[in-house]
């Protein structure tokens, strides 16, 4: 078990409004180094919106997002990635016409310096960085356990492998924090068990994980802490066993029992 360290990501009173709709309402959230934090909530609770605010897809209406001592408010999306936040997508968004390996290599480019001129004239640094990227990408594919698919086009891969490739691609950017958006969507129970092991492995390799997931048994098994959102508001934030029995969480998911009202 990895040691849980200082606060890596901090959302301070973040509000996100789309016209008249308040998707997030004063959300406070802390992710600590080395932990697996699960973000759960009913449909439309604002989970993916949290991801989109962190990665710069949306600019929050108010509040501060602080990552590793840097405010993400004015960073462009690619800069957020360069700072060390990587994500996967709920609906798979790989580059289908690229091979699995290329998908990861493209992500590893983010920390490399060589650009167009180096590539054009085959300058030594560009050549070295290409070799490093390739090696690193292969390493990541092996780590996630999908290296046998490295030369297959992403769009031709089986669904489960595509989901894993999304994680591999996110790791390609050498992030400090990995945001996984429903990585187990559409998985059968056996695949979910396998995925849980992978996520643990990712955390044990030194990455911090923030995870959106619907499958309770998966979350209870791997997460160190669970945050529950409902209608854009945080209603619980504790260790899994406590959250599981929190009456407000049960209410949000199942509704109030008839005899209680």
């Amino acid at each position: 078990m990895a040691k849980i360290g200082k606060t890596l990501l901090k959302l301070d009173n973040v509000t996100m409004k789309f016209g008249g709709v308040t998707a997030l309402n004063g959300v406070n959230l802390e992710v600590k180094e080395g932990e697996i934090l699960a973000l759960i909530g009913p449909n439309g609770a604002g989970k993916t919106t949290v991801f989109n605010v962190i990665t710069g897809v949306y600019k929050q209406t108010s509040g501060i997002v602080n990552f590793d001592g840097i405010s993400l408010g004015n960073q462009k999306r690619y800069q957020v990635t360069a700072l060390g936040v990587a994500r996967t997508f709920q609906n798979i968004r790989l580059w289908g016409d690229m091979t699995a390996l290329e998908n990861v290599i493209t992500a590893t480019d983010v920390h490399k310096k060589s650009g167009l001129v180096g590539a054009l004239f085959g300058l030594p640094r560009a050549r070295r960085e290409e070799a490093e990227n390739r090696e690193r990408a292969m390493e990541i594919l092996r780590f996630i356990g999908i290296d046998e698919y490295s030369d297959r086009l992403a769009k031709n891969l089986p669904y489960g492998v595509q989901r894993r490739l999304e994680i591999a691609r996110a790791l390609g950017t050498s992030p400090k924090l990995v945001l996984l958006d429903e990585p187990a969507a559409g998985f059968n129970p056996a695949e979910k068990v396998e995925l849980a092991a992978t996520i643990k492995k990712v955390r044990d390799a030194g990455y911090t994980v923030l995870l959106i997931e619907h499958d309770m048994s998966l979350i209870m098994g791997i997460s160190d802490r669970v945050v529950v959102l409902d209608f854009g508001t945080k209603i619980a934030d504790d260790i899994p066993s406590v959250v599981q029995n929190d009456p407000r969480v049960i209410e949000a998911y199942l509704g109030v029992p008839a005899d209680a009202s």
């Binding site: 990665t55 997508f89 968004r93 580059w95 480019d109 590539a119 054009l120 560009a126 990408a137 950017t173």
Partner: protein
């Protein structure tokens, strides 16, 4: 009913190339260059074009179309941005040559880098504000840009307005080899050299980081940006490199034609070059070359049927696009990484 891939020339060619060793590859390249270089001597054969002289047709439209299509392919094929104003860069190159050639003592080769630079600057200036747009919106803005450039030269005194600029000097001769109007072999070889240089550039870039960035942008721009690709930068690079090739073609065109006027730089040219790219196979260098060659050559080859030739030309386009909707030689669906060999993991 779909009839497709009954004959797969692309994979056939690719398999020969991939199975060849290095000496074999060098031989293939040299022999191909030699054969293409000998084309101007084929004027007496079945290839002959009635009315227009064969070596002139090889330079313009064929060679120029190939060059410009390769340039446009960087923008449209590699990074997936629809550019309908490509003729603007061609015009900028041509007018740079015309004005500097008639007012200064600089020769074509000295003006060439200046023309390319101007086209690239125009590419950057247009790119920075507009490349935040996508798809149809970008197409409309570039279409407008193409028209603006034409209207500016049409209505300005420095460009001599609709009269155009005449007496543009020919390139100086290379030793014993002279550029002549009657014999355009030398022009053809220069265009060929420029095409080879462009192919080299594209191939170099596509196997490395810029090519991957373009590919990622083409397939899913949002995902690319969220994975750390500086999308705006790479889109501007793509646009600028395309502009550079268009500018270079323009300089040579002006110096070959000796006279240019705004009516040569209409939207039709942009559309025709785009047609070459789509007809040959978007994103595939060899497809684009074949497409541009056919679309450049065909109208002159069938000139003997005079008025009906445009009809035939249109029919050929429609029929081919029906049978091969992805172009003659579509983009290869590789199952192999875009990385240089030798970097073994």
């Amino acid at each position: 009913m779909k009839i497709r891939n009954y004959w797969n020339l692309r994979d056939f060619g690719a398999s020969i190339w991939e199975n060849a060793g290095r000496p074999m590859r060098v031989a293939i390249v040299l022999i191909s260059i030699l054969l293409v270089g000998l084309l101007p001597f084929m004027g007496g054969s079945f290839l002959a074009t009635p009315i227009a002289s064969f070596d002139a047709v090889l330079v313009y439209p064929v060679g120029m179309f190939v060059l410009m299509s390769l340039g446009l392919n960087i923008v449209v094929g590699k990074s997936g941005m629809l550019d309908l104003g490509y003729v603007a860069f061609f015009a900028i190159g041509a007018y740079t040559m015309a004005i500097l050639g008639t007012t200064t003592k600089l020769n074509t080769w000295e003006i060439m880098p200046i023309g390319i630079a101007f086209a690239m600057i125009a590419g950057v200036l247009l790119g920075i504000p507009t490349l935040r747009l996508r798809g149809d919106y970008l197409a409309i803005v570039t279409l407008g840009f193409g028209e603006i450039v034409r209207l500016v030269v049409l209505n300005s005194t420095w460009s001599k307005g609709p009269n155009g600029i005449a007496n543009i000097p020919m390139p100086p001769h290379f030793g014993p080899l002279k550029f002549e109007l009657e014999n355009q072999r030398l022009f053809f070889w220069v265009v060929m050299a420029m095409i080879l240089l462009t192919i080299w550039m594209i191939r170099r870039l596509t196997v490395r980081r810029p090519g991957r960035a373009w590919e990622a942008i083409r397939q899913d721009e949002d995902a690319a940006e969220l994975m750390g690709v500086h999308t705006l930068k790479y889109k501007i690079w793509s646009f600028t490199l395309g502009a550079a090739v268009g500018g270079a073609a323009g300089v040579l065109y002006a110096s070959k034609n000796l006279y240019i006027a705004p009516e040569m730089f209409t939207l039709n040219v942009s559309i025709l070059i785009l047609a070459c790219v789509v007809f040959g196979g978007i994103g595939n260098i060899w497809g684009v070359i074949i497409g541009a060659t056919i679309l450049g050559y065909l109208p002159d080859r069938i000139r003997f049927i005079s008025d009906a030739r445009l009809l035939v030309f249109g029919l050929v386009l429609v029929i081919v696009m029906n049978f091969r909707p992805d172009g003659l030689l579509p983009r290869k669906k590789r199952e192999k990484a875009i990385v240089k060999k030798g970097a073994n993991a």
